[in-house]
């Protein structure tokens, strides 16, 4: 069968309304449904005995893949020969999905199912799956139980290789392992297993040459693959590697940073003095451009001292201005002993080039307070911990975001199942 080869069909007439019936599955049809009067006919009976008639709602159900449409699907040419709508009820709501029966004389039958724009390509299993209600195993792959429900056939059209009836009821159990879904349909003592694979509507539209574009899927379907789930595990693996790299850089920085003290001097400040500013002797910052830590230890108690600092390059005149306050208060009240602030302060200046430097210092304090002794210490090439925390946060946040979105996707998937996940907030 190829697109150029006319399909082999047989034309009959509906015994109820006389409308022409086209049989495409060449003797494999068990029932035929008249599209005109909705009579379900026994295809095995030469007289096309009427098995059932049903009333379709006005406008009825219109198959998105018109019967007789042919398209290359999974490497073979298939023709849409049957269409049925089935429904289930849950929590007082009715959910309906559509099933299209495809036929190829050499490959046999397969089905395309559609729910809210989500499509599955289904075929009967070639082996008997093992199922225990919690899960199933088929061809070495494990599937999780998703839901069990009773499905009712509500509309049929075309021909079918089984006895189809409107209002037929079957117990359907779905097991999922995205992008696959393993379904059992049990009617009486007979159980049929089908394996479905999630497919995109656009591929079906393209294969069958359908007009327009495939409807956009709504929500998350039971076996819809998550675009992020595969990435989430790999992302955390990569995150662990990157965190290790950060730790290695941190360790190397700790080991090899010189933390060289280049200046230390003790001073005293009298707030009543007329000119407080002064410059320190020169000191040299050797090596490469690096951080410089300026530490101030002030003998303050219930006092404060503020120091205007300028680190000035003696050769270029480049100055780095910054101000630091050392404040320390302590006392006793009805709550007991309290203290605020500290007698020590340290600040790390970023990326200071090597050279000869001096500090211009201008202390300030409350004029009513006494003389304050303080020490200024300058150390070059000091590790800065903050950048490591920032880097860790920078690699953790995207990984957390991907995991959160993956979790949300799975939560939406399983919300439709018999086993909804509990939300982070504790609800369902």
């Amino acid at each position: 069968m190829s697109p150029e080869t006319p399909p082999q069909v047989q034309t009959l007439a509906c015994p109820h309304c006389g409308a022409p019936l086209t049989v495409r599955s060449m003797g494999r049809a068990v029932t035929i449904v008249c599209g005109h009067c909705h009579s379900i006919l026994d295809a095995k009976d030469p007289q096309l005995k009427i098995l059932q008639r049903f009333e379709a709602a006005t406008g009825g159900e219109s198959p998105a893949i018109p019967l007789g449409s042919r398209g290359k699907w999974r490497g073979a040419l298939y023709e849409a020969i049957g269409f049925q709508v089935r429904s289930m009820e849950a929590d007082g709501l009715t959910y309906s999905w559509r099933e299209y029966l495809l036929f190829n004389p050499y490959k046999g039958f397969r089905y395309l199912t559609e729910y809210n724009g989500h499509w599955n390509d289904c075929s009967v299993t070639t082996a008997l799956p093992e199922a225990d209600g919690i899960g199933a195993r088929y061809l070495g792959k494990k599937y999780k139980h998703f839901q069990t429900c009773t499905a009712h056939t509500t509309f049929v059209l075309g021909e079918f290789p089984w006895q189809v009836r409107v209002d037929d009821a079957v117990a359907v159990t779905d097991y999922v392992a995205p992008p696959y879904v393993l379904s059992s349909e049990m009617a009486g003592s007979e159980t049929t297993w089908t394996l479905g694979e999630y497919v995109h509507g656009a591929d079906i539209w393209k294969a069958f040459g359908l007009p327009g574009i495939a409807p956009t899927p709504m929500g998350v379907y039971e076996n819809q693959p998550s675009a992020l789930k595969a990435s989430a595990g790999q992302t955390w693996f990569a995150c662990a590697g990157l965190a290790t790299a950060i730790f290695v850089i941190f360790t190397l920085n700790q080991l090899f940073s010189q933390q060289e003290q280049v200046f230390r001097e003790a001073y005293s400040f009298s707030p009543s003095s007329t000119e407080a500013s002064f410059v320190t002797p020169e000191f040299e910052l050797k090596g490469r451009t690096s951080s410089v830590e300026v530490r101030t230890d002030a003998d303050v108690s219930n006092q404060w001292i503020y120091l205007n600092y300028a680190l000035i390059d003696a050769d270029t005149g480049q100055a780095y201005d910054f101000g630091r306050e050392v404040t320390y208060y302590t006392g006793v009240d009805s709550d007991g002993h309290w203290q605020e602030g500290s007698q020590h302060d340290r600040v790390t200046l970023p990326s200071i080039p090597p050279g000869r430097y001096y500090l211009r210092v201008e202390p300030e304090s409350d004029a009513s307070l006494g003389t304050i002794a303080y020490t200024v210490t300058v150390t070059r090439d000091v590790p800065v911990l903050g950048v490591y925390f920032l880097a860790l946060a920078a690699i953790l946040l995207p990984a957390l975001l991907i995991s959160w979105r993956t979790y949300n996707f799975e939560q939406m998937r399983w919300a439709q199942s018999d086993h909804p996940m509990k939300s982070v907030g504790g609800g369902e």
């Binding site: 595969a230 990157l242 850089i249 951080s291 410089v292 990326s351």
Partner: protein, 62 residues
């Protein structure tokens, strides 16, 4: 898959940036850079006007 690749590229960029920052001594401290400060400051330190001199000081305690 593409997310994983994008994340890996992003993460490597972060690590490289961190390595450069560690080597160059980056920190979060905000300093005001002033160019061409005259050498006469050393003789007359009071003539230098630091931008932090109008800082409002904490004078509290509990």
């Amino acid at each position: 898959m593409i997310w994983n690749r994008l994340y890996l590229i992003y993460g490597i960029a972060v690590v490289l940036l961190l390595g450069a920052g560690a080597y160059r001594g980056w920190s979060f401290t905000s300093v005001n850079e002033v160019k061409n400060v005259p050498g006469s400051i050393r003789d007359n330190p009071g003539s230098y006007r630091a931008i932090y001199s109008s800082y409002h000081h904490y004078t509290g305690g509990k």
